[in-house]
């Protein structure tokens, strides 16, 4: 099991380099090997679910002296989220990336990003978290600008600047925490801070973490990079960025730091709640006015990330279960919707919804998948999105947070409105003459979309099973009433 956990980082990391070497002579190797590695990491992350907490000592050095990888239920869930979408996006890319000139480099960067994200969710070391976060971020900057057109390069540059500022803030935070506690091991820091409490320096570091991770998660007002970066990237990359990158680098890292490393402070939870509510509302309202299909999905991501943070900020078991379930659901349906938008863009050559209409007649698979994704994210029962939003809203009311709860209900209606708009202008109505000859996507792309669409329904229907096997253990690993669960796992006392 230990080696499987390591394999989820090592396999994509080594393969990224191997692909660059072998494809100098054999181009098809990238397709084959990326699919194999994607399959391996998916199987590994499924096998790791439900296993006992694992602490892997890098180089044989025991924590807190060496770097360690920690696999607890929350990491297991995040690994599943990342590698599930990662595999289907890889399959989709086999066909979609034929559109671009250099597929081997795409897969190398893609696998590097996967390794970085898997590293972020597994590491038990603050500085190592920063390193993996940078690996994933740097790969994503390259992937956003992969088309090397002016618009893509501009978006990539903007993302690079804002992402680097966020990384610098996080690094400053790590430096301050190290100067106060003398350690970069998360569990060790937690032990120290439990003894001394949060002094001014720790609070300042927490503010830096908040700003840094909020930028990575694209919470309003730190969201400026996302509406440019996500639409400009190739569709599979947009799916990964919106589906998992903002969650692994932003949501997960913030949850881990504020629940397991720095003792939970109600003020920070309140700040996260306010930011979450603003993101929900602003993202939703801005999405309504968009005509670029991918830009609408990008604003929708900001709105849905707001829901996740609202659930996290409640600090209750139900709120955390809702947030984590919404995180899992959002990765599947937003990944699916971005893949569908890629199919539509590839078939029609445009992203402007005003130029579409009646695509359901020519592209049935893409249309059904888009509809399922849209229904799920809009919160229509029995799709997965309904249950996670319901849990978050109930958790709000049970925690006595009436206003955020009411806003969450209101934003659910806003979400329905812009997804109805997306379906009306794209899938239904009259098919324009110039689109009379568009064709359905090839098998690799269609199959990835079909499976993700089925997952949107399956996750909703399978909630009771998911709750007992993954969601509740993951929430409990964050909401540890004694605060010693994580520490005991890592340091053994």
């Amino acid at each position: 099991m230990e080696n499987l956990a390591l394999g989820t980082i090592a396999a994509p990391l080594g393969s990224a380099i191997l692909i660059l070497i072998v494809t100098k002579w054999w181009k098809r190797f990238a397709d084959i090997w990326a699919t194999v590695v994607g399959g391996f990491t998916l199987v590994a992350s499924i096998l790791l679910i439900g296993s006992e907490p694992i602490v892997y000592r890098m180089g044989g050095w025991a924590p807190p002296w060496g770097i360690c990888l920690v696999l607890d239920p929350l990491s297991e869930l995040m690994l599943l989220v990342i590698n599930l979408l990662g595999f289907f996006v890889t399959v989709y890319s086999l066909s979609y990336m034929e559109w671009y000139t250099n597929k081997p480099k795409f897969f190398a960067l893609f696998l590097l990003m996967m390794a970085g994200m898997n590293g972020v969710v597994l590491t038990g070391d603050m500085f190592n978290l920063f390193v993996f976060l940078e690996i994933a971020s740097l790969a994503s900057y390259g992937l956003v600008g992969f088309g090397v057109e002016a618009e893509e390069l501009e978006a990539s540059f903007k993302y690079l600047i804002l992402g680097s500022i966020a990384s610098t803030l996080i690094l400053f935070g790590v430096a301050i925490i190290y100067s106060v506690t003398g350690s970069v091991n998360m569990a060790d820091i937690s032990v120290f801070l439990k003894g001394t409490g949060n002094n001014a320096a720790v609070l300042f570091a927490a503010v830096l973490f908040l700003a840094g991770f909020a930028t990575k998660a694209a919470l309003v007002p730190f969201h400026a990079w996302l509406p440019d970066a996500h639409p400009s990237a190739p569709a599979p990359v947009s799916a990964m960025l919106s589906g998992v990158l903002v969650k692994a680098l932003g949501v997960y890292a913030m949850a881990r730091v504020f629940y397991n490393v720095i003792p939970v402070d109600p003020i920070f939870l309140k700040v996260i709640m306010v930011l979450g509510v603003i993101s929900m509302l602003v993202g939703g309202l801005l999405a309504i006015g968009q005509w670029d299909i991918k830009r609408m999905l990008a604003y929708s991501t900001i709105s849905q990330i707001g829901y996740i943070f609202l659930g996290l900020s409640l600090g209750t078991a139900l709120g955390l279960v809702g947030a984590i379930f919404h995180l899992l659901n959002h990765s599947t349906y937003k990944g699916l919707l971005f893949l569908c938008s890629g199919s539509i863009e590839k078939a029609t050559g445009s992203r402007d919804m005003r130029e579409f209409g009646g695509l359901s007649k020519r592209m049935p698979v893409t249309s059904i998948a888009t509809s399922i994704g849209a229904l799920s994210i809009s919160g229509i029962p029995p799709f997965a999105g309904f249950w996670s939003k319901l849990i978050i809203i109930i958790a709000c009311f049970r925690a006595g947070e009436i206003v955020p709860g009411i806003i969450a209900v209101g934003v659910a209606f806003i979400t329905i409105s812009y997804y109805v708009k997306l379906q009306k202008y794209t899938l239904f109505g009259k098919l324009p003459d110039k689109l009379a000859k568009v064709k359905e996507s090839p098998f690799a792309m269609s199959s990835a979309m079909i499976i993700l669409a089925v997952l949107c329904l399956a996750l909703g229907l399978g909630y009771p099973l998911l709750n007992s096997s993954i969601l509740s253990p993951a929430a409990n690993s964050l909401l540890d009433t004694t605060g010693w669960g994580y520490i005991t796992n890592v340091l053994g006392f």
């Binding site: 080696n3 390591l6 090592a10 380099i17 660059l20 070497i21 892997y56 890098m58 180089g59 044989g60």
Partner: protein
């Protein structure tokens, strides 16, 4: 005549060997003296950059082509990864120092650390050179107004 003046070329011809040698020594002695793979790799790349500046890009590319730089870059990184993986295979821990550590402060000592330094030195040297080559390829696209 491509490149810089004869004075620069003569001086460059004299010092390039020493720069390369110094870079290599920093990499190889990385485990017992200050420095290591990254610092030494930067020196190695600087030697090639000096060739590029003094003699022109064409000459530098003849000495170390784009393909060779890219391949060395990848092979350096992959070697480091393999050293880490071997640690995992032999002892169960990634990057475990599984080779006999020898006598401290001797050149042949410290197990896998000097090997890792060499891998990093090759990677950093080749990739920094490749980055500078890439930067020198791209130029600014003139607008229509500027062309006029």
């Amino acid at each position: 005549m491509e490149g810089m003046t004869k004075i620069v070329k003569t001086v460059a011809r004299l010092v390039i060997g020493f720069i390369l040698l110094y870079g290599a020594s920093i990499v190889i002695y990385g485990h017992i003296t200050p420095g290591g793979g990254f610092a030494g790799g930067v020196f190695i790349s600087i030697a090639y950059v000096l060739i590029m500046l003094a003699f022109s890009k064409k000459v530098a590319m003849r000495k170390l082509s784009n393909f060779a730089a890219s391949l060395s870059d990848n092979l350096g990184a992959f070697s480091f990864f393999i050293i880490g993986l071997l640690g995992s295979i032999f002892s169960g821990y990634f990057l475990y120092n599984f080779i006999n550590h020898g006598t401290p402060f001797r050149l042949v000592s410290a197990g896998t650390i000097p090997l890792s330094n060499i891998a990093i030195g090759v990677k950093v040297g080749a990739s920094l050179y490749a980055i500078l080559v890439a930067l020198s390829i791209y130029g600014r696209v003139l607008t229509e107004k500027e062309e006029e």
